[in-house]
């Protein structure tokens, strides 16, 4: 037996089984989704949603694909939020505090209200990663923001108009490109391939009959 609950999609009442996610409940109610639905698995941030449970003051935010319905849930989806994304040339930025001041100066207007952190659908410490960005600690900002799906709910709640996900995106790219230690064995291998080191080996594989390839495959040595 399915237990039914009442939910309110954009204020309109529907009765849906209580085991559904908000996304599936909308479909159960008859919505053919185009906006507000992407990976359906919590990775893409397409289905940011705000809701309030009747009788409760608190406005909550979630991903519709990752959250079960509750009785008396008032739901509004947020399929798009106008984040500010500054354009820059990754090959032409310096990994210093300067770049944040230049591209996203509004982060210094953060009033410390922590609304971003409270709203984060991924449970990240958003205000903290903005603090790291303010002082140019891109590595810490990258680490703290890593699980961000860029749904934009934090920015929707920010009185200072900060586009947190874009700030974090910049920090991660700077960290990945400039601050993380370079990979020696990767550079060596790219060079070896350019120099044709493996050409003969590969060419031999291109010609081998399938029977020999099977032999090779079935008896290959597997690293522990």
């Amino acid at each position: 037996m399915e237990n039914m609950v009442n939910i309110f999609l954009f204020g309109k009442k529907y009765q849906v089984p209580d085991n559904l996610t908000i996304m599936c409940a909308m479909e159960y109610a008859g919505y053919q989704l185009v906006r507000g639905c992407g990976c359906r698995n919590g990775f893409c941030g397409a289905c940011a949603t705000i809701y309030r449970i009747k009788g409760d003051q608190e406005l909550k935010a979630c991903l519709a694909c990752q959250t079960k319905v509750e009785d008396n849930m008032y739901i509004a989806t947020l399929p798009f939020f106008p984040l500010v994304k500054q354009v820059y040339d990754i090959n032409n930025v310096s990994p210093t505090q300067q770049i944040m001041m230049q591209l996203y100066p509004e982060i210094y207007a953060c009033i410390g209200c922590n609304a971003c952190t409270k709203a984060c659908t991924q449970g990240l410490n958003v205000m903290q990663y903005i603090a790291y960005a303010q002082r140019g600690d891109f590595k810490a900002c990258a680490e703290e923001s890593f699980d961000c799906v860029m749904c934009g709910v934090c920015s929707a709640r920010c009185p200072a108009g900060i586009s947190h996900p874009q700030v974090a995106m910049l920090a991660r790219r700077i960290n990945g490109k400039y601050l993380a230690p370079k990979c020696g064995h990767l550079e060596d291998r790219v060079k070896e391939i350019k120099d044709g080191t493996f050409e003969e080996l590969i060419e031999a594989l291109m010609q081998k009959p399938v029977s020999e390839m099977k032999e090779l495959y079935n008896n290959r040595d597997i690293e522990k």
Binding site: Q32, F43, F146, K182, H185, F198, L201, I202
Partner: protein, 531 residues
């Protein structure tokens, strides 16, 4: 927390945990694998396939659901489309905004072409975003592109087009370097060495990762780069038919605004199909790990325009889709969970197979365990087997799960399951389209000129099964290459008059073959409304 009905089996799993950690299950022999696949893998269920009666692959079998789309009517049948003044006019038109499309667009732009992306949903709404486990590249001293080649060729049942596979493995290290230079954060140790693991069927640890957000990290970086380059992205717009020129070469696409229904035309000197996979076709009724728009659109577009399919009869069922709870039924549980040491355990607490066989073999083995062997755990929604995640913490130390697979931890945490102390239930889920459009080494289709394909819409790179981590790799390698080649080619192209006569021809072919259908294609989106 699992309810009472699971506890008895969980106790057995717990009791056998130390013994199972120590155990190195035997790998199956080639013969054992063949027999297992023939008996249990969904690709071998003959009555789930149909022989095509029209088009370039007439006489070959494909999944029933795909044949319905390939033999459906065009969405523009009986429509008058004005091709005289296209809404968009570019050098390179990229259809699809996933990892392959974004890579192609970046490289075409780098080569100086006027390039644009059209995408059915948003840029980044793609299977790339959901790839968790990692990306392969033979860049360690004990490894080589040749070893990578042998692993992938054997894993794909010796069916890959060797010239495509050669490109895949030889361009892999450069792909990793390209991504690193764009700012993708790979897991490294303090000296910069890549932290790599095994995937099913690999003989060297060459799986590079960014925690278990590998695809998301790559996709969001590529998207950011597309936006930095100010490459036009026309979102919520799908291509519903290719446009050819009077010489039969690709020359653009008919576009549909997904929200307003408006139909437009785009003219282009070269076209790149990067439309991705087909999980939302739900072949054989399987759930899927794929994103909402994975409906094989590119295969339909290409097929109607005369492009050939290769291996369209082979799909990949990822062995470990979530089997419980039902809210995440079919969602991907990354293979990296097994790379880190978790084993597959049946309801009696037995490690019934080596956890890192290739995906097709693993999927078939789990299906066998849950069917004829009757060793599956009843989930309320079918059966599953345990994936004993707490083993990871025992092997790698406390904190390993949170550090290496945070997305998995979060996914189950939402439903009250702590994967650090409780095992999870898994069953195969429809994951990847092994087959697709047939291309040459430059990425151009073998029989429609100026039509390039990249990513999951391609067939032949992997053969009849794909190894973990070779798909994130192929979207980058073949995406980049398609972008470069399409840009280069666009400089030589002089377009003839645009035409949609191939669509009429295809309709005529359907009629002549007595195909009686009320379906239209491409599918664009699945319909999950309550019927």
């Amino acid at each position: 927390m699992y309810s009472e009905k699971f506890q008895e089996s969980i106790k057995k799993v717990e009791a056998a945990r130390d013994k199972n950690i120590a155990l190195e299950p035997r790998r199956m022999t080639a013969d054992e694998k063949e027999q297992l696949l023939a008996a249990y893998h969904p690709d071998y269920k003959q009555d789930e396939f149909r022989v095509l009666t029209v088009g370039p692959n007439k006489g070959e079998k494909v999944p029933k659901e795909l044949s319905e789309m390939l033999e459906a009517h065009s969405r523009i049948r009986d429509m008058k489309i004005d091709l005289s003044s296209p809404a968009y006019d570019v050098d390179v038109l990229v259809i699809g905004g996933g990892g392959a499309g974004a890579s192609a667009a970046i490289e075409a732009h780098e080569a100086g072409a006027n390039v644009m992306i059209v995408t059915k949903l948003r840029i980044g709404d793609a299977n790339t975003m959901m790839a968790e486990g990692g990306i392969q590249a033979a860049d360690k001293p004990n490894d080589s592109p040749a070893i990578h080649f042998v692993d992938a060729f054997g894993g794909g049942h010796f069916a890959a087009k060797r010239e495509l596979l050669r490109k895949l493995v030889c361009d892999a290290p450069d792909a990793i370097e390209w991504l690193s230079e764009l700012g993708v954060e790979f897991d490294k140790d303090k000296d910069g060495n890549m932290i790599t693991t095994h995937g099913g069927g690999t003989s060297r640890k060459r799986m590079h990762a960014a925690k278990d957000y590998s695809g998301a990290e790559i996709m969001r970086t590529l998207r950011d780069e597309v936006l930095n380059r100010e490459i036009p992205v026309v979102d919520f717009t799908s291509a519903i038919e290719l446009i050819l020129d009077e010489n039969g070469n690709a020359a653009g696409a008919v576009l549909l605004n997904m929200e307003t229904g408006e139909i437009m035309a785009a003219r282009a000197k070269t076209v790149v199909i990067a439309t991705g996979g087909a999980g939302r076709m739900h072949y054989q009724g399987f759930p899927t790990s794929n994103h909402y728009g994975a409906t094989a659109d590119g295969l339909v577009l290409g097929y109607r325009a005369g492009a050939k399919l290769l291996y369209a009869d082979t799909l990949q069922y990822h062995p470990t889709g979530a089997a419980y709870p039902e809210q995440i039924f079919g969602a991907l549980v990354t293979e990296k969970v097994r790379s880190l040491g978790a084993k597959l355990i049946n309801k009696n607490g037995e490690a019934f197979m080596h956890p890192l066989e290739t995906r097709d073999v693993s999927a078939a083995s789990i299906i066998r365990e849950c069917s004829t062997r009757e060793n599956g755990v009843e989930t309320g929604n079918g059966f599953g087997v345990w994936l004993d995640t707490p083993m990871i913490e025992k092997i790698g130390g406390a904190g390993t799960i949170e550090k290496r697979i945070p997305a998995m931890m979060r996914m189950f945490e939402k439903y009250g399951i702590d994967i650090r102390v409780e095992p999870i239930l898994v069953y195969p889920t429809l994951h990847y389209q092994n087959g697709g459009l047939d291309i040459d080494e430059d990425g151009m289709t073998t029989n429609v000129k100026n039509l390039y394909v990249a990513g999951e819409a391609v067939g032949g790179i992997h053969g009849r099964n794909r190894l973990m981590g070779n798909s994130l790799l192929d979207i980058i390698v073949f995406g980049r290459s398609a972008g470069k080649n399409a840009a280069k080619k666009s400089r030589e192209v002089t377009l003839g008059a645009l035409t949609l006569s191939h669509v009429d021809r295809f309709e005529k072919e359907l009629e002549d073959a007595n195909v009686d259908t009320c379906k239209v294609s491409p599918k664009l989106l699945p319909d999950y409304r309550r019927k």
